[in-house]
């Protein structure tokens, strides 16, 4: 027990560790560079597909922002993706806005809708002290209701068939209709969101979220407005999903209730889990990987994919609860220990 509290700290000790470049950031940089090169080697069809996949990856990133960092699972996250998509579609198809500005207006509406719904629901639930499994159930019910509204309110949403004729995204002067342009738009949005998230969450904000996750009461005794922090994270996560959904609609040209469906909500959980929740870059990779698998399995039979997901969830819990990357790491370690172990 040495110096008193006010004693000069000029002892020359180093400042708290500066933010090193974490492995996740390095992987992210490599990933983005590789993806940026893709249009040079692939045909238009693949590029269009990847444009969609990258937006789904942005959606997964949004979920990981909340689930991975607070530990609370949002089971109905497709609600926000769908709100973004429908917001864009309704604005550009139903409202008679000047086509030059319609996509931007649609984007704004989509993102704001997603964030607003998250705010209202989150405000009531988080400030009411609801956490963990209860919170998950509420988001699940929210997803069911959103889906019902999308199917039932056909005057606005087009019901079961949805809405077609969503124009490609454009800002005055630039159109992203071409597959390559659309691809770079998606990659650009994903990269910005990814790097910003990594940067912010590798710093103090990330520590605070981890602290709240460990012991929310303790965090409050340190002075943190924990409900507000959780709410802000939830809204940001929803806004990101909404952003992904809105641009996604401009790429495919239509929206249908399966964009706001429970199945999509569970698929995104799979993408995040496969990549490793909490890593931010993992879910992006997970989306790309799983999406490939999804395409192949779905083409075999319509029922095969839900059964595959169902099985995955069960395996996820029983075999690799920390996500696939952690499981593989553990497996590798065990194999290595077995090889070099004593005889």
């Amino acid at each position: 027990m040495t110096h008193a509290l006010e004693q000069a700290g000029a002892s020359g000790k180093a400042a708290p560790t500066a933010r090193r470049l974490r492995p996740a950031s390095i992987v992210a940089i490599v990933l983005v560079v590789l993806l940026a090169l893709m249009p040079f080697v692939a045909e238009d069809y693949t590029v269009s597909n990847y444009r969609d996949v990258l937006l789904l990856a942005l959606f997964a990133l949004g979920l990981d922002l909340f689930w991975g960092k607070t530990g609370i699972l949002s089971f109905g996250h497709a609600t926000f993706f769908g709100l973004g998509a429908y917001g864009m579609a309704i604005t550009t198809v139903r409202f008679g806005i000047d086509p030059a500005w319609a996509p931007l207006a649609g984007l704004a509406l989509g993102v704001v809708l997603a964030a607003a719904v998250a705010f209202v629901v989150g405000f009531f639930i988080l400030y009411g002290g609801v956490r963990g499994a209860y919170f998950t159930i509420v988001t699940l019910a929210l997803a069911m209701i959103a889906n019902q509204i999308a199917v039932g309110w056909s005057k606005v949403t087009g019901g079961d068939s949805g809405l077609i004729g969503v124009p490609p995204f454009s800002v005055p002067g630039i159109s992203f209709a071409e597959p390559v342009a659309g691809f770079y738009l998606a990659l650009g949005l994903l990269s910005v969101c990814l790097f910003m998230s990594l940067w912010i969450l590798n710093g103090r904000t990330g520590l605070v979220l981890a602290a709240i996750r460990d012991d929310e009461i303790k965090a409050r005794t340190l002075g943190y407005r924990t409900q507000f922090i959780l709410l802000a994270t939830f809204c940001t996560s929803a806004a990101m999903a909404g952003l992904a959904g809105a641009i996604y609609a401009t790429g495919t040209g239509f929206v249908a209730p399966d964009l706001i469906a429970l199945l999509l909500s569970t698929e995104v959980i799979v993408w995040v889990a496969v990549g490793g929740s909490g890593t931010l870059v993992g879910p992006v990779i997970g989306t790309i990987l799983v999406w490939q698998l999804q395409e192949r399995i779905s083409s075999i039979s319509y029922a095969a994919w839900p059964i595959a997901i169902g099985t995955f969830f069960i395996l996820l819990v029983l075999v690799f609860p920390d996500g696939i990357p952690a499981y593989l790491v553990r497996l590798a370690r065990r194999l290595r220990a077995g090889k070099g172990g004593k005889s």
Binding site: V130, T136, A141, I145, I149, G152, G310, F313, V317, L318
Partner: protein, 282 residues
């Protein structure tokens, strides 16, 4: 009065169904503190039992008897094989039961085909009260459901199992020290919940088109019954069912059903904000 009585009876119909579906959920949640997302599938299984029975030439009453038995066995197996291993982690239970529900839905669809199935119930035609006609089957449903509910309450109060169950809900530790086997109690409670849900499915089947996905709707509502009413108590389930069922029925008369459901959800969320443990928690 012209409109009020049918609406009241419709509300009672929904409340009765919710009561049976939610009762099992409430017991399981109050006892094991886990959330079973495959609970809706028990309802579906009950309905499909009736479909199978009628396809094989049997009648409604056979289905009514068989369905809870099928539900009970199913629930028992599920609990022993899967749930008991992971019951300590609510999130794991959510994921596993959700996965299971996806598999069950697809399996049912593969077995019975994607077309909605129709079953025939007893008591076709209506009963007349003064100026009003009301479907006789629905009256039967209400009476049967409430009678079952009363029976369950009596059984819980009087039987050995019921005592074990209620003691375990209060405190599993103390109960086990008194000789209550937690594994058996959990398994039986889970199976009972499944049986009740399956029974609800049979009763429900003549009123609607039976599809592999019909259970999902009841899942959400029954969860809210438990969350709003309070988990682990009979009073809670009754209160929650009355509120959710009554409100939804009333609103459906004023606004489209989908909006009505959304409104009820909204109200449930608001209630949760002020009473996070429900109105009448254990």
């Amino acid at each position: 009065m012209q409109l009020a009585l049918p609406m009241l009876l419709n509300a009672l119909t929904l409340i009765s169904i919710l009561l049976m579906v939610a009762m099992g959920l409430a017991i399981i949640f109050g006892l094991m503190n886990i959330i079973n997302l495959a609970h809706g599938e028990f309802v579906t299984i009950g309905a499909f039992t009736l479909v199978a029975v009628q396809a094989a030439g049997g009648d409604f009453w056979l289905g009514l008897i068989l369905a809870p038995i099928v539900g009970y066995l199913f629930g028992l197996v599920l609990e022993r094989v899967l749930i008991s291993r992971i019951a300590q982690n609510p999130l794991h239970v959510i994921l596993v039961t959700w996965g299971l529900s996806l598999i069950i839905q697809q399996a049912l669809q593969l077995l019975f085909g994607p077309e909605p199935q129709r079953v025939t119930g007893p008591f076709p035609g209506s009963v007349t009260f003064g100026h009003i006609q009301y479907p006789a089957y629905r009256l039967f449903l209400i009476a049967f459901a409430l009678a079952t509910f009363a029976l369950v309450i009596v059984a819980l109060r009087r039987s050995r199992f019921g005592l074990d169950l209620r003691a375990s809900i209060q405190s599993a530790e103390i109960a086990s020290v008194m000789g209550v086997d937690p594994g058996k109690t959990n398994a039986r409670a889970f199976a009972l919940g499944a049986a009740l849900a399956a029974l609800a499915g049979v009763l429900l089947a003549p009123l609607t088109a039976v599809t592999a996905f019909m259970g999902v709707n009841y899942l959400a509502r029954s969860f809210f019954v438990v969350l709003v009413g309070g988990a682990g108590t009979i009073g809670g389930v009754a209160a929650g069912s009355t509120i959710i069922g009554g409100l939804e029925t009333f609103l459906t008369y004023q606004i489209p059903p989908t909006v009505a459901q959304a409104a009820v959800l909204g109200l449930a969320i608001v209630i949760l904000r002020f009473r996070p443990r429900g109105i009448l928690p254990a």
